[in-house]
Amino acid sequence: MIGASLGAAAYERASEISAILAVANPVGDRRLARLSSRPDVVLALSGIGISFGGVKALSDVDLEVEVGEIRAVIGPNGAGKSSLINIISGLYHADRGRIAIGGQSFSRVPASRLARLGVARTFQNLALFGGLSVRNNIACGRVHTRRASFVEHIAGLPRARSEDAGIAEKTDQIVAFLHLESVADRLVATLPYGLQKRVELARALVAEPKLLLLDEPMAGMTATEKAEMAGFVRAARDRHGVTIILIEHDIGVVMGLSDRVAVLDYGRKIADGTPAEVRADPAVIRAYIGTAEGENGEDIR
């Protein structure tokens, strides 16, 4: 009995402490509330922190993204860029901080509701469905709009058929937009790498997201393919009005493409501003020159 009540007391105390810790950042919360109520802010992060086995991948990162901008997040290897995008898309759960997507605030974004929240993403390493054709891969991007059950599909009832027709039409538009007509009926796994990256962009765009997260969309591409992809990203913003968060390694591409750039280094945001401001920022130069000489030979162009 005594043991049990002691245990209960300790538990209560622990949950009290964690409750205090959870609201430890009232300033940040107020800031988030203010930001998320602004209609021109699509996404706002406040005080995001995450660690993996004692290693802090991100600490106290704030970020806001306005409607219709291309917002780049750059940084050396291991700076926490992919962790950030995985937190926004709900694949990782942040230890601290909150995320506001289109006016709804989360401490953990529900990944399974992501598409319905108006967020689509691509993956750093291709995440296509190898057993499906290009067209069917893209059509899967609209799966969140489907309501018909499997029985309706087997029986070919009107709702299933009209959904199929609507999705086929949207798919055709995106296929044309990204010039994928000639490969549309091929198995996606048989395409060259650059085209597969483009199919992934198509699958994200067909969802007609408000916010599009691109995790290194140009990684491993040739210079020509990069230029082509940059053109598609810009066109997606200009024609479809989608807001874009772009994580990229190639700084040259980023500076030409984005409206604002945030720079991460060792999990902290060290700079945030227009490409010109960021390029002139001494902290950024130090971070990049430092790693350029030390580790992975990146240069700032």
Partner: protein, 349 residues
């Protein structure tokens, strides 16, 4: 450059192909309902076609789960058992229940079991999931042996097929059972074909190929997996009814053991994962192999090749064939068939 090279490989809508397909379907019907009932010997029907049809259907069901949805299962034979014993009991305990309704109810029972034993798939993947489906295998066999109610208190747990009839027409003859079996298999296969080519089927493939991406774009991953287990078990359950009622006629729980589960898994590996045709090719192969081996053995070794040696050699040959397929043709007989067809096509044109 690459795009233009790929262009040539793409086929436009081909009317000749459509006509060819229609002709093929007609031929299938003529053979299934005309030629076989009229000319096939009793031996061919009883020893080859009936087990072939039941195993094909079970393989179609497992292929839906393992081939299309990527969930490895070793519980197929348990779901067959649930179907068979379910049908037996529905028939026994509900007066005048039509055969079709009995079979559907048996399928639904198996589907229910499938969902329950599919729950671990929400947390487990691949090999670990396969091991957890073994639970279904052992539990079902245990329950059917332990509780006499399931076999109407038969001392050895054996059930016998009831009188089979549809609309007053008796189907107890070999031909009658064949017609029941072939019709059931064709109808269910057609439904599965519709399913795998629908958005639901594409959800299955999406979950198999990249679960994380599927979740992020809004595929209801958990629901999709459980649906795959349910539909797959439904079909395997009805295959169990065919196995018990049309092929064996009397069956005991031990008849649905782990060996049978493996057999069905081998069928889809040899036939080709995620291919409906593969399920039929694989089943044909598995059914014909022992017959072929026994003839070959008798021819080569005469009296030395008895049933014990046959059983042993069958296991060895089957094992070797599976290894060869996994290495040389992971897409199975179905892909081999395609390649052969292309080669013949390119030679004739």
């Amino acid at each position: 450059m690459a795009v233009q090279a790929l262009d040539a490989a793409r086929l436009p809508v081909d009317w000749a192909k459509l006509v060819q397909k229609l002709a093929l379907a007609t031929a299938l019907f003529v053979v299934a309902y005309g030629v076989v009932p009229a000319y096939a010997s009793g031996y061919l029907v009883e020893a080859i076609l009936l087990p072939f049809l039941a195993l094909s259907l079970a393989a179609v069901g497992l292929n839906l789960l393992t081939g299309y949805c990527g969930q490895l299962s070793l519980g197929s034979s348990a779901f067959m058992a649930v179907g068979a014993f379910g049908a037996y009991n529905f028939n026994l305990r509900v007066e005048g229940l039509p055969l079709a309704v009995t079979m559907i109810l048996a399928g639904i029972s198996a589907a229910g079991f499938g969902v329950v034993f599919g729950l671990p798939s929400l947390r487990l993947r691949g090999f670990y999931l396969a091991v957890s489906t073994l639970a279904a295998q052992f539990f079902v066999q245990w329950a059917l042996t332990k509780f006499g109610w399931f076999s109407n208190d038969n001392p050895s747990g054996v059930i016998s097929a009831p009188h089979l009839a549809v609309a007053g027409l008796s189907l107890d003859s070999a031909t009658g059972r064949y017609l029941l079996s072939v019709t059931t298999v064709m109808v269910l296969t057609a439904l599965v074909w519709r399913l795998v080519n629908s958005a639901t089927g594409r959800n299955f493939i999406a979950v198999r190929d990249n679960e994380t991406a599927a979740r992020v774009i809004g595929v209801p991953v958990l629901r999709t997996k459980l649906l795959a287990f349910a539909i797959s078990s439904f079909i395997i359950g009805i295959a169990g009814v065919l196995w018990a009622f049309t092929y064996l006629r009397t069956v005991e729980p031990a008849g649905f053991n782990l060996d049978r589960s493996f057999q069905i898994l081998f069928i889809i590996i040899i036939g080709g994962l995620a291919s409906i045709r593969g399920a039929f090719l694989g089943a044909a192969f598995i059914v014909v192999l022992p017959l072929f081996l026994s003839r070959l053995g008798a021819f080569l070794f005469g009296g030395l090749f008895d049933s014990g040696v046959l059983d042993m050699s069958q296991r060895i040959v089957l094992g070797a064939i599976i290894i060869i397929f996994l290495i040389a043709e992971p897409s199975g007989l179905s892909a081999l068939f395609d390649r052969l067809k292309r080669r013949i096509g390119s030679r004739s044109s």
